[in-house]
Amino acid sequence: MEMKPTRRDKDQQRFYLLLMISAYTSTLGFSYFYYLAGAPNITNKGLIAFALFVVYGVSSFFTQQLLFLFRISIITAFIAFFIQIYCTGGALSPAMTEFVIPPLLAFFYRPIRDRYIFMIISAIALVIMWPLTAYGYTQNLLLPEFEVAHGILATMFVFSIVAVFTFLFRETLAKKNKMLNESMTDLKSTTKKLIQSEKMASLGVMSAGVAHEINNPLNFIKGGVGMLAKNLNKSDENVPFIKAIEEGVNRASEIVSSLGHFSRDSESMEEECDLHQIIDNCLVMLQHKLKYKVEVEKKYTASKHLRVVGNEGKLHQAILNIISNAEQAITTKGTITIETKAKLNFLRLTITDTGEGISEENLSKISDPFFTTKPSGEGTGLGLAISFGIIQDHGGKISVTSKPKEGTRFNVIFKLSERFK
């Protein structure tokens, strides 16, 4: 089974590589030292160990089973370890740490979690090794003329081991810290965004309830005024006031009804959605933001049958987000042009603003969830991501072009409903 290497696998491979490099250098150095010391049987053992490590190293190119390799190397290292003690008459070579400790650590190696255990094992092994080696010297088991050289080499090896492990440990710790910090920041911003989206969701539920509660009193006003109007002559001076009230009721009910479209609880993807109606509803909803700032230019196609099959509530949400974004891109005054065109079975909706535009770097990210250029707390970075998702769910295609300081154009292509062609 082919599996993609994960980050953890990569960590593990790098750890294995470091182990192997230190094993190669130490076994070679060790052999060279005893070669100079004129102890060929020990040199041979060192070379055999080196050859073994080379075999492991080469075999690691053919298998991903690192744990298996580690275990094999431990067993071999232990055998080599005891042969070594036997050959030197009880004295431990300082290089033995390289044979024993790294594979031993590797055996327990699960990236990061068990690092402390490795460090402790390493420390214990070193503490045991020194008295044993000292015992070898005092018993004159090593040639006295090599004592100094042996001591220097031993110190070098110990330092190299400590350096390797400190490096590994530090790096992992730093990485871990960074990851922790990153996930803390992520968590904080996600929490904020969740609270915000929860707010939006409850707003939806609330608006449905509010719509119902407002429609009843609107009904009182409309009914009451309607009855009053019946009792008036057409030339009565009060007629304009009645008209004003009726206009007010109609506008209020239009707002409430467009609010209702957003909080529909339907999940159906089979509804016939009138795109022009949806755009108009969105414009009503955004009226308070657009009013003194943005001139909306509508270039609707004359074709009456602009219907798309899908979920009306969701399409409202998608288009509202796009228009709302266009509005936010305009800082002082500007124009939003909304154009629809029908061709064959397809419908093209273009929403162009004369706003700040999007930089090329950010353009590729605008469909990413949580990507936002707004200050924290003002935008969730979910709006356009949701819009893109909804449009794709409707089999639509969306593309965005933008020039900084000139404006942005959203191009959406829908398939027209078969039933309404």
């Binding site: 449905a208 429609n215 009843n216 609107l218 009904n219 409430v256 529909r264």
Partner: protein, 123 residues
């Protein structure tokens, strides 16, 4: 116009003002009977069963909602036409009811008298 010439319509809503306004708005077009709850509506249908042509009910009411009421009416009096007049924009429950022909039409508050009049006259 006498009572016999006009269609009899039962209007159900838990808001007294709505009942009053509905009755007044349509007094020339229909003979309007009103009820302020589901159980009361059922009693009134029982009493005037042969006359009532249509029931227009609010959706959200205490004791029994509009659809529950209409389901009961449909069982015993299948010839009565049923309508819902609601302040809610959309609702999957209502959409289902429309699809299953439990209700003939859905009216929205604030209502347009002509829309209701046409629907009843043509039903």
């Amino acid at each position: 116009m006498t009572k016999e010439d006009r269609n009899t319509v039962l209007f159900v809503d838990d808001e007294e003002i709505n009942l009053f306004l509905f009755e007044k708005t349509f007094e020339k077009d229909f003979h309007v009977i009103t009820a302020s709850s589901g159980p009361e509506a059922l009693k009134k249908i029982e009493k005037n069963k042969s006359d009532i042509k249509a029931v227009i009910s609010d959706m959200r009411m205490p004791l029994m909602n509009g659809l529950e009421l209409i389901e009961k009416i449909k069982e015993d009096f299948p010839e009565i036409r049923n309508f819902i007049l609601t302040g809610y924009g959309y609702n999957s429950e209502l959409e289902m009811a429309l699809e299953n022909k439990l209700i003939d039409k859905l009216f929205h508050k604030p209502f347009e008298p002509e829309v209701i009049k046409d629907a009843i006259d043509n039903s």
